[in-house]
Amino acid sequence: MAIKLHGQPWSNNTVRAMTVLNEKGLDYVLCPVDLRSGGHKKPEFLALNPFGQIPVFQDGDGSVFESRAITRYVATRYKETGTDLLSASSAALETWLQVEGSQFNPPMFRIIFELGIKPLIGMSTNMSVVENESDKIGKVLDVYEAHLAKNKYLAGDEFTLADLNHMPEIYILSKSAKFDLIDSRPHLKAWWEDISARPAWKKTAVSLPF
């Protein structure tokens, strides 16, 4: 059975899954879920993700929801294919995977949802949310900046899943007026330039509507 990814290319969480599939050089079919007509609330979809959210991943062995569980699964199941995305110490990898989900993503998502996603789905941007969240995320990004001054990648010397999981949101930010959040921090900027130059990433980016 071919790999199926249920989602939308304007959804940062779907893009996270697309990114790992392209890094691994895996073929897949993107099955659009029509959120406007309530496709995510239909019984067939809820059977795949009871939270009614995209993305959902399916391969011959099973189905997975939650984008970070999907990227973890793909990185592990297909470890021997393409780049090994798990080559770091358990401590560093687990820490920075969790930092992305707990510290980085909540404010970053709110910024890029307002600036990058809402315009694509016919909703209007709330600039006061953007300003509030931009203030909040500064302190988090300062920690990243100091960390990347001493580490080439987040979990050490190699590009891993910890770096990959950040890519959709930073990419969407890079198309917005708030990219100075990254651009003004030299090590964050250099890290982003390095990881976004990866051929697999370029393949992903070119397929996105941002």
Partner: protein
């Protein structure tokens, strides 16, 4: 002699998440208090362990780890033979079982944690530290949490625990906020038949009871 140190107070939900995992795994540890009232969590020494200035931090003979769910995974990876051996994927232990744990741990972190933490702050910490409660925030977050718990109730009608037949990290992650919320508003969990059944079962685990004992222990 314990080579494991956890920095923080057992009253912090994130710290207690780690303590629950250590007790489940029968791993000896030392608890090093961090005086947050005196700003110790922002001191240069502490920031070397946890650069975001938050508890918990974890240190063993090899390394430091932070983020409570990362610490739990690290402990499970490091001690596969000790204590509870199904925390990362049930008796099966294969990749799909592990992925189910990851999936429900993400659901906890992304869907359960934000509204439950907001409620824990409003209902428990705000009164404790003399902050004013925000009724609108309470109402909004109760509504969000209710939606999440409805999904849990359906899931727990089909599955004994969130990730499958065994108690795993995915269930454990809910104990800290669940414990506080149930003490403030039992109805949230107990009015839902399957969530109630699950809550009674997971909160009765000896490892969790040891954490609660530490939380209730007199200071000093």
């Amino acid at each position: 002699m314990a080579s494991v140190t956890v920095y923080g107070t057992p009253l912090s939900p994130a710290v207690s998440r780690v303590l629950a995992c250590l007790f489940e795994k029968d791993v000896d540890f030392k608890l090093a208090p961090v005086d947050m009232a005196k700003g110790q969590h922002k001191s240069p020494d502490f920031l070397k362990l946890q650069p975001f200035g938050q508890v918990p931090a974890f240190q063993d003979e090899l390394t430091t780890v932070f983020e409570s769910r990362a610490i739990c995974k690290y402990i499970c990876n490091k001690y596969p033979e000790k204590g509870n051996q199904t925390l990362m994927g049930g008796r099966d232990g294969g990749l799909l079982a592990q992925t189910s744990v990851d999936q429900w741990l993400e659901a906890e972190g992304q869907s359960f944690n934000p509204p439950s933490s907001a409620l824990v702050f409003q209902l428990a910490f705000a009164p404790m530290f003399g902050f004013k409660q925000d009724p609108a925030a309470i109402e909004q977050n109760e509504a969000k949490l209710a939606n999440v718990l409805d999904v849990y109730d359906r899931r727990l009608g089909e599955s004994k625990f969130l990730a499958g037949d065994d108690f795993t990290l995915a269930d454990l992650a809910h104990l800290p906020n669940g414990h506080i919320l149930v003490s403030k508003n039992e109805d949230l969990f107990m009015s839902r038949k399957n969530v109630g059944r699950w809550w009674v079962e997971i909160s009765a685990r000896p490892a969790w009871k040891k954490v609660v004992e530490m939380q209730n222990a007199p200071l000093g």
